[in-house]
C-alpha cells in the first residue's frame, strides 16, 4: 500500500471552555490520511466531540482554541471564520449523534437537501438539484427516494434519518466525513446497516472518515487506525488490530477489559421455589385519543425467581419499557394476570396493591433525571424509608449509611448533591434508593446505557454482588446483548410487543432459534476487528481475499 499523504493534520490542539479552569483538550496532535478511517475513542468528557467541533469551527464562540490544523495543506486553525465556512460541507462533512435533532423539523427532507445542494452546486437548476437529491438518497440506501423527498423528519425512523443526515453531508462531496457517535442513538440492527454504509462510502468514494465513538465494537467494525483519548490527551495511537491485540497504554487495556462479553457470563443460580413474579398474557394499550386504543404489548408471559436476573431485550419500540412501567404500576394493563409474591395484582383493591409497591424497586436509565437535584444523596435514599417505615432519626441514619456503604460510596458523601457526582456514582445512589426497602423484585430499565463502558462494568458487578446478598429477583431491561449475556441467567426476547424467544441466556444468545433473535445477535458488533471483517464479508457477500 502506498504511503498516504495526510488529509488533515492537527498539531497541539488545545481547547478551553469559558468558565473552566483547565483545558478540555490538551495539546493533541494527529493526522487523518486520504481515504483513511480513523477512530477517536474515549469516554464521555475525554474531549473527543470538542475536537470534532473545533476542527469545523462549530464550538461556541466563547471557547478558546489553540494549536494548528491544516486540511489538504490549507490552514484551518488558526484561520478566519470565512475560510472555515468555505470548507464546511464542501471539504469536511459532519454527522451528529442524534439524527432526529440534526434535521430542521419544520422543513421537508427534499427542501433541506435542495438548500444544501444550492449552496454547494450553484450551477445546478431546480430539476438538476432534485435529480441529485434523489441519487444521494439512493446512495445512502433510502427506498423510494422520490417519495421520501416530500417527507418531514418526524415521518421517518431514526435509522432512515441518519441516512438522510449522511446524504446531506455527502451533498458537498467532502473528502473527510467527521461522524460523531453516528450510531449511538440507534438500535443494533439499524446500526449495522449504517456502519456498512459508511464502510461502502469509504471504499467506493475514497472518503476519509474521522469516527468519534465510545463503542469498541464500532471501532473494531470500521476503523483502520485508532486514537485513544482520555482527559483531553491522546494516550495511544495505532493500527486497529494492534490496539485490540496488544494495547500498550494502561487505559486502553482497562477499556478493553471492561467490555462486556470479555468478562465471562452469568453463573449464579436462581432459587428453585415459586417465582417471585409471574406475568401471564399481559396486554397493554395506550389511548390514542377519541376512544381509540393502540395496543403495544400483545399477550406477554414470563416469570422471575428470587436470586435471578431475567433479561428483557428488544429494539426500541418493542414494548420492553412499557412492560417495566406496567409492573411498577405506572401504566394500567388491559388484560392478563400479574402475580407478585403469590398475590394477583390485578384482582386486588388499589390499597392492597399500594401495600405491595414497597416490595418492588426501580432503577432507570438516566440517574440525573431520576434523582431530585435539590436533595442530598442521603435524603434521596432516606425518602422511601420515611414513607414506608417508621424509623427514629438514629435508626434511619444508620440504615442510610449502611445503604451508602453497600453501593460502595464513601460515607462522608451523604450530604453531597447529585450534581457533585459522576454518572456512575449517581446510578449507585439510585440503586441504593431502589434497594432501601429490601424489595423482592428490582426492575432496572437500561441502568447502564447512559454510562461509559468501564463504569458500566462496575455497576453490573455491584448489582450482581448486591443480589447475592439479598436474593432479590431482577427484571433487567436492556438493548445491549453483551450486558445481558454477562448478567442474566435467562432472557426474554421481545419484538413488537410479542415474545419471540425465551430461554436460558446461553441457549438464546449462542444458538438463537428465531430469525429475529439471530439477526439481533449477529448485528451486535464484537470488539474484534478480524471477526467483524469476516462477518461483513459474509453479510455483503464479498470475496474473502479483500480481507486477507
Amino acid at each position: 500500500m502506498p504511503e498516504l499523504t495526510p488529509l488533515m493534520c492537527v498539531k497541539d490542539l488545545d481547547i478551553r471552555f469559558a468558565g473552566s479552569s483547565s483545558s478540555a483538550v490538551r495539546g493533541i496532535s494527529f493526522t487523518v490520511g486520504r481515504g483513511e478511517i480513523v477512530a477517536l475513542v474515549g469516554e464521555s468528557g475525554s474531549g473527543k466531540s470538542a475536537t470534532a467541533l473545533a476542527l469545523t469551527g462549530l464550538l461556541p464562540g466563547d471557547a478558546q482554541v489553540g494549536g494548528e490544523a491544516r486540511f489538504d495543506g490549507t490552514p484551518l486553525l488558526p484561520g478566519n471564520a470565512a475560510q472555515r465556512n468555505a470548507f464546511r460541507g464542501r471539504r469536511v462533512g459532519m454527522v451528529f449523534q442524534d439524527p432526529a435533532a440534526a434535521l430542521d423539523p419544520v422543513f421537508t427532507i427534499g427542501w433541506q437537501l435542495d438548500e444544501t445542494l444550492r449552496r454547494h452546486h450553484p450551477a445546478l437548476d431546480r430539476k438538476g438539484r432534485r435529480d441529485r437529491a434523489i441519487s444521494l438518497l439512493e446512495a445512502v440506501g433510502i427506498p423510494e427516494p422520490a417519495d421520501r423527498l416530500r417527507r418531514f423528519p418526524n415521518q421517518m425512523s431514526g435509522g432512515q434519518l441518519q441516512r438522510v443526515v449522511i446524504a446531506l453531508a455527502l451533498a458537498g462531496e467532502p473528502d473527510l466525513l467527521i461522524a460523531d457517535e453516528p450510531t449511538t442513538a440507534l438500535d443494533v440492527t439499524v446500526q449495522q446497516g449504517l456502519l456498512d454504509l459508511l464502510w461502502r462510502l469509504n471504499r467506493d468514494r475514497g472518503m476519509a472518515i474521522l469516527l468519534i465513538t465510545h463503542d469498541m465494537g464500532v471501532v473494531a467494525d470500521l476503523a483502520q487506525r485508532v486514537l485513544v483519548m482520555r482527559h483531553g490527551v491522546i494516550v495511544e495511537t495505532g493500527d486497529v488490530r494492534e490496539i485490540f491485540q496488544a494495547p500498550r497504554a494502561a487505559y486502553t487495556r482497562a477499556l478493553l477489559a471492561a467490555l462486556p462479553g470479555r468478562a465471562g457470563s452469568a453463573t449464579a443460580q436462581a432459587d428453585i421455589s415459586a417465582p417471585v413474579l409471574t406475568v401471564d398474557g399481559l396486554r397493554i394499550a395506550y389511548s390514542s385519543g377519541f376512544g381509540r386504543r393502540n395496543e403495544v404489548v400483545h399477550g406477554v408471559s414470563f416469570d422471575i425467581h428470587a436470586g435471578e436476573f431475567v433479561g428483557l431485550v428488544g429494539e426500541s419500540g418493542s414494548g420492553k419499557s412499557t412492560i417495566g412501567s406496567c409492573l411498577l404500576g405506572l401504566i394500567a394493563s388491559t388484560a392478563g394476570r400479574i402475580t407478585f409474591d403469590g398475590k394477583d395484582l390485578g384482582r386486588r383493591a388499589p390499597g392492597d396493591v399500594a401495600a405491595l409497591r414497597p416490595q418492588i424497586g426501580a432503577v432507570f436509565q438516566n440517574p440525573m433525571g431520576s434523582l431530585n437535584p435539590r436533595l442530598t444523596i442521603a435524603e434521596s435514599i432516606a425518602e422511601p424509608l420515611r414513607t414506608h417505615r417508621r424509623l427514629d432519626a438514629l435508626a434511619l441514619r444508620r440504615k442510610v449509611d449502611r445503604l451508602i456503604g453497600n453501593v460502595q460510596l464513601p460515607k462522608g458523601w451523604r450530604d453531597r448533591l447529585p450534581a457533585e457526582l459522576s454518572g456512575g456514582q449517581r446510578q449507585r445512589v439510585a440503586i441504593a434508593r431502589a434497594l432501601a426497602l429490601d424489595p423482592l423484585l428490582l426492575i432496572s430499565d437500561e441502568p447502564t446505557s447512559a454510562l461509559d463502558v468501564s463504569v458500566q462494568a462496575e455497576i453490573l458487578d455491584l448489582l450482581r454482588q448486591l443480589q447475592q446478598e439479598t436474593r432479590f429477583a431482577c427484571l433487567f431491561i436492556s438493548h445491549d446483548l453483551a450486558v445481558v449475556r454477562q448478567l442474566c441467567q435467562r432472557v426474554v426476547v421481545l419484538r413488537a410487543g410479542v415474545v419471540v424467544e425465551a430461554d436460558r441466556t446461553s441457549r438464546v444468545l449462542d444458538a438463537p432459534q428465531e430469525p429475529y433473535t439471530r439477526n439481533l445477535v449477529a448485528s451486535a458488533p464484537l470488539p474484534d476487528p478480524q471477526r467483524q471483517a469476516e462477518k461483513r464479508a459474509v453479510r455483503l457477500g464479498l470475496r474473502r481475499e479483500v480481507f486477507a
Binding site: L58, R88, F96, D104, P105, V106, T116
Partner: protein, 321 residues
C-alpha cells in the same frame, strides 16, 4: 390539515356556549337593581313590578338565558339600559377606535420586538442583551397609568409635541391627509403605552426561544454543511421560533382589546374599554354581557387563527393523528 381545523372549530363551539352561560349567570346574579335608572322617581313599586313582569324579568333564569341566547345567535344582543340603543350598534361604533388603537399597538410591538428579540437571542449576555433585559423588566413592572402620565408630561406638557386626548383635535375640521395626520398624532401616545409592555414581554419570549434554538443540533448541522449565517436565521431559526410567537400574539390581541380600559380612559379614547367601564358603572347588564361575549368570541377566533398558523408553520402539528 382540514381534519385538524375541523376539530378545533368543533371544540370552540361548546367552549363558546360555556362562556355565554357563565357570563350570563355572573352578570345576572350580581346584587343591585339595574332598573333604578330606567323608571322615573314617581313610578310606584306595583307599576315597576308590572313592568319587570312584562319584559320577562320574572321568568326563571333558564328561560331568560335561552331567550337571550337565541337572540344573541341571531345577532341581537338587546338594548343598552342606559342609552336605550342596540348593544351591537354601541359596540360597532367603538370597535373602529379600539381596533385602530390595538392594531397600531400590535404593529408597533411586532416591529420593535421581533428584530430586537432575534438580535439579543443570538447575542446572549452581550451589552445590548443586558440593557434590553433591564429595560424590559422596568417596562413590565411600571403600571400603564404611571407610564401614561410620564409620557404625557414629557411629550405633551413639556415638549408640546403630541396631543393627549381624543381621536381628533376638537373643533378642527381636517380632511384627507390632514385628518389622517391628526389621528396618527393622537394615536402615538396611547399606542406606545400599550405596546411598550407587550414589547418587553414578547422580546423576552423570543430571546428565550431563539437562544434555545441556537444550541440545537440542527442549527449546528446547518453551519456544518456550510449554510451561510443569514440563511440559517431565515428561514430555519425564524420558522422554528414562530410557534411560541404565535401563541403569545394570539393571546395578546384579545388582551389588547380588553386591557385598553385604563389607557383609553387616560387618553380619553372612545373605545370598547371605556364602553365596558361605563357599562359596569351604570349596571348596564345587556351592554356588559354584549361586550364580554364579544371579547370571548374574539379570543376564541384568535385561538383558532393561532391553530391554523401553527399547522402552517409546523408540520408536526399538521400531520399529527
Amino acid at each position: 390539515m382540514l381534519r385538524h381545523l375541523l376539530r378545533r372549530v368543533l371544540i370552540a363551539i361548546p367552549v363558546l356556549f360555556g362562556i355565554s352561560l357563565v357570563v350570563y349567570l355572573l352578570v345576572n346574579l350580581q346584587p343591585g337593581d339595574p332598573f333604578v335608572g330606567m323608571v322615573g322617581p314617581e313610578t310606584t313599586p306595583a307599576e315597576k313590578a308590572e313592568l319587570l313582569r312584562r319584559y320577562g324579568y320574572d321568568d326563571p333564569l333558564v328561560v331568560q338565558y335561552l331567550r337571550w341566547l337565541t337572540r344573541a345567535l341571531a345577532g341581537d344582543l338587546g338594548y343598552s339600559l342606559q342609552q336605550g340603543r342596540p348593544v351591537t350598534a354601541l359596540i360597532g361604533e367603538r370597535l373602529g377606535n379600539t381596533g385602530l388603537l390595538a392594531g397600531a399597538a400590535l404593529v408597533l410591538t411586532l416591529v420593535v420586538a421581533l428584530p430586537l428579540g432575534l438580535f439579543v437571542g443570538l447575542r446572549r449576555n452581550g451589552g445590548v442583551d443586558l440593557a434590553v433585559s433591564v429595560l424590559s423588566f422596568v417596562l413590565v413592572s411600571v403600571p400603564a397609568f404611571f407610564l401614561s402620565m410620564l409620557l404625557i408630561k414629557v411629550f405633551a406638557v413639556d415638549l408640546r409635541l403630541l396631543p393627549t386626548a381624543g381621536v381628533t383635535t376638537i373643533g378642527a375640521d381636517y380632511h384627507g391627509f390632514a385628518h389622517l395626520r391628526d389621528v396618527a398624532l393622537h394615536l402615538v401616545l396611547p399606542a406606545s403605552v400599550l405596546a411598550l409592555g407587550n414589547i418587553a414581554v414578547l422580546n423576552r419570549y423570543l430571546r428565550a426561544s431563539v437562544s434555545e434554538l441556537v444550541d440545537q443540533d440542527f442549527i449546528r448541522a446547518l453551519f456544518g454543511r456550510g449554510i451561510p449565517r443569514r440563511r440559517v436565521i431565515a428561514p430555519h431559526l425564524l420558522r422554528n421560533a414562530a410557534r411560541p410567537l404565535i401563541t403569545i400574539v394570539s393571546l395578546e390581541i384579545p388582551a389588547l382589546l380588553s386591557s385598553a380600559l385604563l389607557t383609553e380612559t387616560i387618553f380619553n379614547w372612545p373605545g370598547i374599554g371605556r364602553l365596558s367601564f361605563e357599562a359596569v358603572q351604570g349596571r348596564d347588564y345587556p351592554l356588559l354581557m354584549g361586550i364580554v361575549l364579544f371579547l370571548a368570541v374574539v379570543t376564541l377566533a384568535c385561538n383558532l387563527l393561532a391553530d391554523v398558523l401553527y399547522a402552517l408553520v409546523d408540520p408536526r402539528v399538521r400531520l399529527a393523528p
